[in-house]
Subunit: 523 residues, 2 copies
């Protein structure tokens, strides 16, 4: 059935501090796409945009940040993507809202996209479209692009004062967006004093790195970290002298010519970086593409502790059952013989198999044993560690969840990295594989409802869910989102302890396996 579209000066123009913006309305939701929130010179801190006269159209998504490697269309059925023209001039945000009045003061939910700190965009996934979350939750949804990879995260501080924080300018772009939101979101019906950051994968990492970034203090009030805590990603050395030198050398430039890096075409810069970085990495040096601790960013809270302000932020932390298991679904998965399953498991887990089997059965009594192949150790082990430190060191509450759905691929495939996102955004209708009659509508209500409740009150409790307590030291209460939802206490603690002993290795942190897989796994 046709909805009601409108795009007219009288009804869909908003006045911001910088000038007027024209959006559009579709039924009850107003949309503003591609709002420029900052400008920046390459490797340098962003600056606010200048005031302007007249009305600017906010009717087309803005440029996304260029990537180091071309994307390869694949696995679209598991994670449908959108691509978009790329340009370094990428500081754009998008807004969806049910009201355009300064007294509406609705909760503001700011989405930080995944793709590590190297790729992705505010519209990369089909599921990132914000209209339905805004409508279902009666909230203002903001999504944003910012600088990525070497444009956003490459420490060149030893090559000049103006690059003092080049290691973190990608996050600094986000802080500028949050300042724009503080100054302007009321005009879009949002409450600048109730801003929740939520993000998945790299987007989750952005949430907690910004918690430990004093310049962002007070600009957001809650955080949701979806599949965003990972060991071996944000720690390690952070001095960019080695990668900077290698890059200059690769480009035939002298060390005092670092300024030339500012004007070289990005494609040339990226090609030189891709060539120079592996050797620098093998030598044990930092190669950029992640935030680096300095005066501006205090470092991974699991390493350096939480800042005093970070201790005041309610957080929700979780991950999904299968995460990086993107292998093809197994036909006949639920009817394999016990012998076959054990044979397969022993190939992977060797002598740990008997312990893992018994602990898996305790943790996931409803799952076929073959799913032990898929269970994620990476985000769960690191996430449990984050939660434990969080409840011990911080005053504000910490909530835990696990997304445990099986999807209808072959005879069922456990949830993979990114698969919860359509439910959070109330977008299962737009993602073919999320269409499970009798299941997905209800799960969508529960997940979206919990996220909205958390954004509204700092507590994910929702009428459609069982009672969900915050975690306590040594007591992880985890909401298991599945066909039936339940809260369980330390449900997989023993399983994760044993999995830790198997020393699982992140595929994309293994240098031998190359760059391509990084893009693949962290999308």
């Amino acid at each position: 059935m046709a909805r009601q579209f409108a795009c007219a000066g009288a009804h869909t123009v908003v006045e911001t501090k910088q000038g007027k913006l024209r959006g559009y309305r579709l039924d009850d939701i107003y949309a503003f796409h591609g709002i420029k929130y900052a400008d920046a010179k390459r490797f340098q801190m962003p600056t606010p945009i200048q005031p302007y006269e007249g009305i600017r159209d906010a009717l087309a998504y803005g440029y996304v940040c260029p990537m180091l490697n071309q994307d390869v269309p694949q696995m679209e059925i598991m994670v449908p993507h959108r691509y978009w023209p790329m340009d370094e001039n990428c500081q754009y945000l998008n807004i969806w809202t049910p009201r355009l009045s300064a007294d509406a003061k609705k909760p503001v939910m700011v989405w930080l996209h995944g793709g590590g700190f190297s790729s992705g965009s505010s519209i990369e996934h089909v599921a990132y479209e914000g209209d339905r979350l805004s409508g279902y939750g009666d909230v203002v949804v903001v999504t944003l692009n910012h600088r990525l990879n070497i444009l956003g995260y490459l420490d060149l501080s030893s090559f000049g004062e103006k690059y003092a924080n080049s290691a973190n300018v990608g996050n600094a772009d986000i802080v500028m967006a949050l300042k724009w939101i503080r100054d302007n979101i009321a005009a879009f019906g949002g409450d600048p004093d109730n801003v929740t950051l939520f993000g998945q994968s790299g987007g989750g990492m952005k949430v907690f790195t910004l918690m430990n970034t004093p310049e962002a203090d007070g600009l957001f009030h809650k955080g949701i970290i979806q599949s965003g805590v990972l060991d071996g990603f944000l720690n390690g050395p952070t001095d960019g002298t080695a990668i900077g030198r290698a890059l200059l050398k690769e480009l035939g430039l002298a060390e005092n010519e670092a300024e030339k890096l500012e004007t070289i075409p990005y494609a040339v810069l990226a090609a030189a970086y891709n060539k120079a970085a592996p050797e620098v990495e093998r030598a044990g040096h930092y190669i950029g593409c992640v935030p680096a601790a300095n005066d501006w960013y205090r470092g991974d809270p699991r390493e350096v502790g939480f800042t005093e302000h970070a201790k005041t932020i309610p957080v929700m932390v979780g991950s999904v059952f299968g995460e990086f298991d993107f292998s093809p679904a197994i036909p006949g998965r639920k009817t394999l013989s016990k012998e076959t399953v054990l044979e397969i498991l022993e190939k992977k887990y060797k002598s740990h198999t008997p312990d893992l089997v018994s602990r898996f059965r305790e943790a996931y009594p409803g799952r076929p044993l073959i799913d032990l192949l898929s269970v994620d150790p990476f985000f769960r082990i690191a996430g449990r560690d984050f939660i434990e430190k969080s409840v011990r060191e911080r005053k504000a509450p910490t909530y835990s969840y696990l997304f445990n759905l099986d999807f209808p691929l072959e005879d069922g495939k456990p949830a993979w990295h990114c698969s919860e996102i359509p439910f959070i955004f109330h977008n299962t209708e737009r993602v073919a594989i999320c269409n499970i009659p009798g299941v997905s509508d209800r799960m969508e209500e529960r997940l979206c409802g919990a996220w909205v409740s958390f954004a509204r009150w700092g507590n994910p409790g929702a009428a459609c869910l069982p009672y969900w307590p915050a975690c306590e030291p040594g007591r992880e209460y985890t909401m298991i989102f599945d066909r039936e939802c339940e809260v369980r206490l330390n449900h997989d603690a023993a399983l994760m302890e044993t999995l830790k002993e198997t020393k699982p290795r992140l595929p994309f942190l293994s240098a031998a396996e190359g760059e391509e897989e990084e893009g693949f796994f962290l999308h």
Copy 2:
């Protein structure tokens, strides 16, 4: 409400002549994305793909052809786009079908995308998604990518025998897709003896250039040309010696080194072409990016006449009211004073204004006079000429239509280039601006219904439409698609005669206005 998704070997795998393909099903419609239908070396004729073992996933759209210039995100509210990773290896097609059985024999509708012969893709517009047309019309829908711009249409025949048809290899890709369809579409429930080509803008031109291409004879049986007939686009010189020489020179290559053009990175080739082409064009030479008449392609039928086979193809030809008027909507458009309107019109039409005003009122009695500013002369004048030649020279019927809707932008904006496409594909729900309560659902039924009827029977008559006769010499019966539909006889003949006298100039054929506008206008 959640639909039913399935993707499993038992239910969504089809066996083609080359091997097995896995698609997915959403409720009643099966989808297969990114099926490779041919391979090709640069500038050379395509070859069939080789048979393979096992099952290939057809679950992600394939690469699209690289473009000469980066796209700029704009006017998304009028024509929402999708972008996708690019690669020369771009011979991919997509299928949507309600049945996977060889005896279903449903009509096959093959969409040829627009973007001149230089840009666009099978998924460029959000509206190109084929599932709903397939479901509503009970037809098999195919969309496809093929080589474009200098990769698909650059005559290098004077530089080597293997480039004999490099001027038309883009169209030759389409012919290979049609051969794949002939060989395989029955397994997807389609009737290989009832294939309709439909395309808009450049896609419409592809329809009639393929009508005059003997290698395509028998591979399709009907044609729909939407906003695809234009003067000054397909005629003129077709010898590529000058542009080939200029390109080689720009790249520092000798004339006997043309083979090196095959391996130079596309970005380098495109940059050299963009630099070299304007001067060659100013000197009056062909610069490629359109099919060139030769033994393989017999030339624009308006210039050289129709082939005997082309005379057997029922065609439908039409355009939209406003076409290239993409200027902002005029607030208060319906309430401007007569004096103001005449003042504006006189600026554009000078001494022709009084004649145009009276003829516009006859042609469009329901429209405000200011819409004379927007009325399209380009496709209508050339389209009327095509129709007249078609009915005089051909046996098969020719139908005429005009899409005349106003959209809810400010106080209304007449239909622009591409704006009918969401209605044809039954995709108005996916295109925000098409949501007009009480109007768009009914119009969608009528347009989509007429297209499906034409594909099924070669006659666009549908139960929801008034009687729609084929055109006759001197008698153009045009179905006006609007809030109310009606058939009118030569309704704008006088208006177009007068507009012709004003010598309207295509913005993108004016060299002074540059390349960028070409991409803009022909998207």
